[in-house]
Structures are given as structure tokens and as C-alpha cells.
């Protein structure tokens, strides 16, 4: 019997989410798949390029979080240039990179919360897609919309002074950075006229948390119950267990909080992480080798980071972290919609760290680059806004890249996103003959909680381009809805 093939490889620039819902013979949902049909080819076409080009070249993967790719690649290239595996940089070099990175976290998370999520919170998940967008928010909650725009501007301009450009900068180079922070640049962000200063950013971050908590108080059942399933969690943590976005060792915990891996050296990640493949997606399915492909999948990103770390090293965010942990009695939080809560706590933490760094005179240092014995291989990991990001390069004796392996944050979240979609499909679509707009919304909300890089393309105003197809037990299409 012939089967209709509905998967069309399109570039991420075209980008849309494609979901298929598989029904069993009784018409119940048996499996759901989120198809990622992006294909970029970076791992291949970076081959042959000199290694020092990589931090500037590979960041072109993304226009939303290029700093993360820039820094992950730079960290890998540091190893190749002999500048150590994360602890060999000069004080100024490392702190400038941290400032760049936390500014990136701040602006990326702000974009997600204010521009993408706040319409759901303020206007309702079931509101008309025509108004459920940032313009709709601006019309009804002007002050909040302005806050979102100004907070993002603050982060972007801080990236500009550390990386050279707001998008696709060049600040991180093998072994360090190419500039420090001048007193004038520092004062612009530390003492700038309201609202563009670090104190205001902290104040507004607290206000954003209050907004979420207020919504949570009124919608607790939905937030807690929507797409809630246990998983392992993985992130980098600092040696003392603190939350650290820039550097650390790999920690993974199970759904009960037991440590599976603790502070593992990421240079050895190939002995920790495996990458599964499925015939229906271009995106790989990473898993912890020690648990195998079936059991070893994990979540990454804000929720995972707050589940793996022991504390947050900034006072206001730590207080919020304690509330967050108390909600699940100190156990890992496996509630999908709590990604949003965790993400705003990270916004606050980023703002606090930015202020602390701006006040640090080490940023005016002039010793910018470290070097050492050249190596043939380097791995660089950072926590990107969306989760743990892996860059791995091999170079030949002529300094050319011979192998590149990237595991991006969204790839790490591949299985959880599929599970989240399946959770929603089972709750909403079992026994249904037709896919309705509210069902599409629910699927969209589940995917959006993970802030997948798929949304680079779907950071469009308004609704997420999405296609949902329902298949019967024999694989025949029953119904499909596209927008």
C-alpha cells in the first residue's frame, strides 16, 4: 500500500515546525513526532578553513544567539591554540567573554519572554492569533512592551561593545579577546541615564518575575499540569555546583535529583554523550551513554540548569531560586511550563552578573590573549540561552579544520520536545477527527516553552508557522492543518 510522504526538507530560513500525530487502531494517540527539517551543512563546509576563523564563521548558524556559538567555538579553539581548557585565559580575557555572554543571555531571554511568551500570558493562550503577539501587548500594556524593547537594547548594546557588533561580532579570538572595556563604555552601562543602566535592568527583571508569578498564581493548574513528565537534566555547573553559563563541568541528574554525572570534563564528552538518529528528522537525538538511547535522553536549558545547579551565585536570583526549588521540595522540576519561570530567574541573574562585571576593574586590563602549545583537537562548551552547546574541532598540521561536530541546544532538547508534543496530543487529540485551532495553539505552546532554535525562523510576529498531520495506524493521512 502506498503511503503519502509529507515531510519536505526546507531550510530553517523557511522554517516551520512539522508535527505528525500517529493514531493506533482505536483512534488513540500512540506517538507524536516533531520533525526538524533544517539542514545547514556547517559541519561540512567549515572543513578546510583555518581554525582561527571558526569563532567568526560558525556563529553564522544563528542570528539570535550567535554569541553562544562564537564563544563555544572560541573555547574549542583556545584548546587548539594552547590556551587551556577554560581556565587558561587572562583575567581580562575571561571576564570580557563573560560580560559578552551574560549580555547575550539577558537579551535572548528577554526577547523570548517579552516578545514571544508575554502575549500568551497577558492576552491568553486561546486569544486570537491576530492580536496574540507583541504588537497586541504593546497596544494593551505599553509600559511592559517598552520594558522588553529597552531591556533587549541594553543587552544588544553591551554585546556591541564587547564583541564589536550587536550580531555576529568578532570579540573572542583564539586564546582571549581583541579588546577590553574602556571606562567610557563601562560608565555608559553602569551609570547611563534611565532606563539604560544595570540597576534599572535588575529592577525590571524583578518586575518580569513578579508578572510571571502573578500569572502563575492565577493559572497554577495549567502551568503545573501542562506537559509534565519526568526526565534527566543536563548542564554545565561551576566546580562548587553554582550556576555558570560560561564554563564548568558537565553535570547530569535524574528526575529525582540523583547525580548521574558530576563535573565531568567536557573535553571527554564523546565518552559521555551519544547521538542517535531517526529516519524522520535531520536532527540528532543525544543521550547519556551510561543510560543508553532509550533511557538516557535529557532536558537542557533554563529548567535543566536550575535542576542541576546547587545555587545561583547572585543574591536576588538566589532568593528566587530558593522559591523555585521549594515548589518541588528541592527535587528536580519536570514541569514544561516552568521553563518560563526558570528563564526569568536567569534574566535576573544575568542582570546581576552584568552589574558585578561592569564594576570589576579587571575589564580595563590590557593583557588580553594567552597562548601555549598547539593542539590538534579542541572541545568548547557553553550554556547557551536554550541549553548546553557543544563545539568540537580537529585540525591538521596545516591548521585546517578536518572535523567539526556541533550539538546545539535545541538538538539536546529533541526528545523532550517530542515528548512534550506527545503529551499535548494525547490530552487534546485522542479520539478527535479534526485538528482545531486551539489544538494547534497547545502544540505551539508546548514547543515554545523550550524556546527552540527552530524559532529563529518562527520569531516572526504572530503565530508560529506550523503543520500538524494526523496519521492512522497504517500510516495514512487522516487530516492535516497548516498555517
Amino acid at each position: 500500500m502506498s503511503r503519502k510522504i509529507t515531510i519536505e526538507p526546507v531550510t530553517r530560513v523557511e522554517g516551520h515546525g512539522k508535527v505528525t500525530i500517529h493514531l493506533d487502531k482505536a483512534g488513540e494517540v500512540s506517538q507524536s513526532r516533531l520533525h526538524i527539517v533544517e539542514f545547514r551543512g556547517f559541519e561540512r563546509f567549515v572543513q578546510g578553513r583555518p581554525y582561527w576563523e571558526v569563532p567568526v564563521l560558525v556563529q553564522r548558524l544563528c542570528g539570535i544567539c550567535p554569541v553562544s556559538h562564537h564563544l563555544a567555538a572560541a573555547k574549542a579553539v583556545d584548546v587548539i591554540a594552547g590556551a587551556g581548557t577554560g581556565d587558561g585565559l587572562t583575567v581580562t580575557g575571561e571576564k570580557m567573554r563573560r560580560l559578552m555572554h551574560y549580555a547575550q543571555f539577558f537579551q535572548s531571554h528577554v526577547l523570548h519572554f517579552f516578545h514571544l511568551v508575554s502575549p500568551d500570558l497577558l492576552l491568553g493562550v486561546d486569544a486570537d492569533p491576530a492580536i496574540r503577539n507583541i504588537i497586541g501587548v504593546a497596544l494593551q500594556h505599553k509600559d511592559l512592551a517598552v520594558q522588553g524593547v529597552m531591556m533587549r537594547k541594553f543587552g544588544q548594546e553591551l554585546i556591541e561593545v564587547t564583541a564589536g557588533k550587536k550580531i555576529h561580532g568578532t570579540g573572542a579570538i583564539p586564546g582571549g579577546v581583541n579588546k577590553n572595556l574602556s571606562i567610557e563604555e563601562r560608565d555608559r552601562f553602569l551609570k547611563g541615564a534611565d532606563p539604560l543602566n544595570a540597576d534599572k535592568m535588575i529592577e525590571w527583571s524583578v518586575a518580569a518575575l513578579d508578572l510571571f508569578k502573578d500569572y502563575y498564581g492565577k493559572n497554577k493548574d495549567m502551568i503545573d499540569g501542562f506537559s509534565h513528565f519526568p526526565s534527566n537534566h543536563l548542564s554545565l555547573v561551576r566546580k562548587d555546583g553554582a550556576l555558570d553559563f560560561y564554563h564548568g563541568g558537565i553535570r547530569a541528574v535524574d528526575s529525582e535529583g540523583n547525580k548521574i554525572i558530576d563535573y565531568a570534563d567536557y573535553q571527554d564528552y564523546t565518552n559521555i554523550i551519544g547521538e542517535g538518529v531517526k529516519s524522520w528528522s535531520y536532527m540528532k537525538f543525544p543521550y547519556l551513554l551510561s543510560l543508553g538511547e532509550e533511557e538516557g535522553w535529557y532536558r537542557v536549558g533554563p529548567l535543566a540548569r536550575l535542576n542541576t545547579c546547587d545555587f545561583i551565585p547572585s543574591p536576588l536570583a538566589q532568593k528566587e531560586f530558593e522559591l523555585f526549588k521549594a515548589h518541588t521540595n528541592g527535587k528536580p522540576n519536570n514541569m514544561c511550563m516552568h521553563y518560563h519561570w526558570a528563564r526569568i530567574i536567569e534574566i535576573l541573574h544575568s542582570a546581576e552578573v552584568i552589574k558585578e562585571l561592569l564594576e570589576d576593574p579587571d575589564l580595563q586590563g590590557t593583557d588580553l590573549v594567552a597562548s601555549g602549545e598547539r593542539k590538534d583537537e579542541g572541545v568548547g562548551l557553553v550554556e547557551a540561552p536554550r541549553g548546553t552547546l557543544f563545539h568540537h574541532y580537529n585540525v591538521n598540521e596545516d591548521d585546517q579544520i578536518t572535523m567539526c561536530n556541533l550539538i546545539v541546544s535545541t538538538t539536546n532538547n529533541n526528545v523532550p520536545m517530542n515528548k512534550a508534543v506527545n503529551f499535548v496530543a494525547k490530552a487534546q487529540m485522542s479520539g478527535q477527527a479534526e485538528i482545531t485551532e486551539p489544538m494547534m495553539n497547545m502544540v505551539e505552546v508546548a514547543i515554545r516553552a523550550y524556546d527552540p532554535c527552530l524559532s529563529c525562523a518562527t520569531h516572526a510576529l504572530g503565530e508560529m508557522p506550523l503543520e500538524v498531520t494526523m496519521l492512522d495506524a497504517d500510516g495514512n493521512e487522516i487530516t492535516s492543518r497548516k498555517r
Binding site: 583555518p50 582561527w52 564563521l57 564589536g164 568578532t170 579570538i173 585546517q400
Partner: protein
């Protein structure tokens, strides 16, 4: 002593020495004529054609045309600008010039001219030639994707005996620059840096030097190409 002659560029009365090239004479009169293959102190080559002007109604390359009394030169007319723009677009379309990750970005003369001529996208189809990156030399990388075959490196980069470090190799569409084998060992870090500076694009790159000059501090970030003449006006 050379005889002084008078001539006009776009109607402006100028003075120059008879026999000097139009590019030199224009420069002395604070008039910018864009060039790529031309390099001060070296005999002109006229391989890139970017310095095209009209002399008494005829299209000529100004880097190789000696100045004569009474020349009427068209430099910044719409027609000439379009010809130059077309040449620059051809150079982009013929190679693989991926500026975003190129170490010369911001200091690249070809890129600077692309900006000057407000090139958005070439009017010609990209050829996407398959070319190699030769990184086998310990000090220098040759990225043939970015070479415009201007021969600057061949003409300028010479050892103390006047022998070129570089030469043309192969023929026709396969023509490329190569390092003279007998002089390869004499390419030091300093020579590699000079070669990189002499190259108008990113075809010659000193090894292990990447992005140490921040965006905003690069050659043409500070001073757009041609602006040194125009500021004098």
C-alpha cells in the same frame, strides 16, 4: 625635469607631469580614482580594470595611461561609475568572497570598493568555482577562492636579490598564484604579514592571525577607501 601639462578631470582644471600615469596625476590633484591591482612604487599592471576612465572619449585604464597635455578625463560620470561597479561585481561573482568570516574583512580593498559602489548583489550570476585553500606553507595560507589575480604579490613581494616570492602558475581559468619553491623557506612571519597587507583581498593570510583587530578599528572602518582625497576637497 618633466614637463608640466594641464588637463581636466570631470571638468576640473588640473596640473601634472607629462608622462606620469593618470592615477598618479589625479592623486596629486586630490582626485580619487579607484584601483585594485595598482600598488604605489611598482610598475602598473592594469589587470583589474577598476581604474577605468574615459580619456578624450575613449575608455582607458588610468594606471597605465601616461598623461598628456590637454587630456579631458571622465572619472565620476554615471557611465564610468557603472563600468567600475560592473567590474567589481564581476570580481565578486567570479570568486568565492565570503566576507563575514574573512580575516581581511574591514581591511579588504575589494570589499571597501563594494561598499563604495554600494553593491547590493552582483548583476552577474555567481560562478561558485571549486578552488582550494593551500595551507601547506608554515607561515602563509593561500585562499584561491579570494584571489583576483591582480599579481600585486608577484610584483611587490621580492627578496633582497629582487626575486619574487610568488609567481603565476597554470593557465587560463586555472591560473593561480603559487609560492616560488626555492624561496618558500625565506617567507618569515614578517614577510607573510607584508604579503597579507599587499594583497587587496584575503587571498594571502598570515597564519594564526585572526581577528586581533576589533571591528571598528580596521583599516577602512577608520577611513573609507578614497576618503583621504575627498577630505582635502
Amino acid at each position: 625635469m618633466s614637463e608640466f601639462v594641464s588637463f581636466k578631470i570631470d571638468g576640473k582644471q588640473c596640473m601634472g607631469r607629462a608622462g606620469e600615469y593618470i592615477t598618479e596625476a589625479a592623486e596629486r590633484n586630490n582626485i580619487y580614482i579607484p584601483t585594485l591591482c595598482d600598488y604605489k612604487g611598482t610598475a602598473p599592471k592594469a589587470s583589474c580594470r577598476v581604474c577605468t576612465v574615459k580619456v578624450n572619449g575613449r575608455v582607458m585604464t588610468s594606471c597605465t595611461t601616461p598623461l598628456q597635455e590637454g587630456m579631458e578625463i571622465e572619472n565620476e560620470t554615471a557611465e564610468i561609475q557603472d563600468i567600475r561597479s560592473g567590474i567589481i561585481e564581476l570580481l565578486f561573482a567570479e570568486g568565492n568572497h565570503l566576507c563575514p568570516s574573512c580575516e581581511k574583512s574591514g581591511s579588504c580593498e575589494l570589499q571597501a570598493l563594494g561598499y563604495r559602489f554600494r553593491m547590493m548583489v552582483p548583476r552577474f550570476p555567481y560562478l561558485f568555482p571549486v578552488r582550494e585553500i593551500d595551507a601547506s606553507h608554515p607561515k602563509l595560507i593561500k585562499d584561491h577562492n579570494r584571489c583576483i589575480l591582480c599579481k600585486r604579490c608577484v610584483r611587490v613581494m621580492k627578496d633582497e636579490k629582487g626575486r619574487s616570492f610568488f609567481a603565476f602558475y597554470k593557465r587560463g581559468a586555472k591560473l593561480e598564484i603559487t609560492i616560488a619553491p626555492e624561496l618558500a623557506d625565506k617567507i618569515t612571519d614578517e614577510v607573510a604579514q607584508q604579503a597579507m597587507d599587499v594583497c587587496p583581498t584575503g587571498a594571502l593570510l598570515k597564519k594564526r592571525k585572526g581577528w586581533d583587530v576589533p571591528v571598528g578599528k580596521r583599516l577602512f572602518d577608520m577611513k573609507p577607501i578614497g576618503s583621504e582625497f575627498e577630505q582635502v576637497k
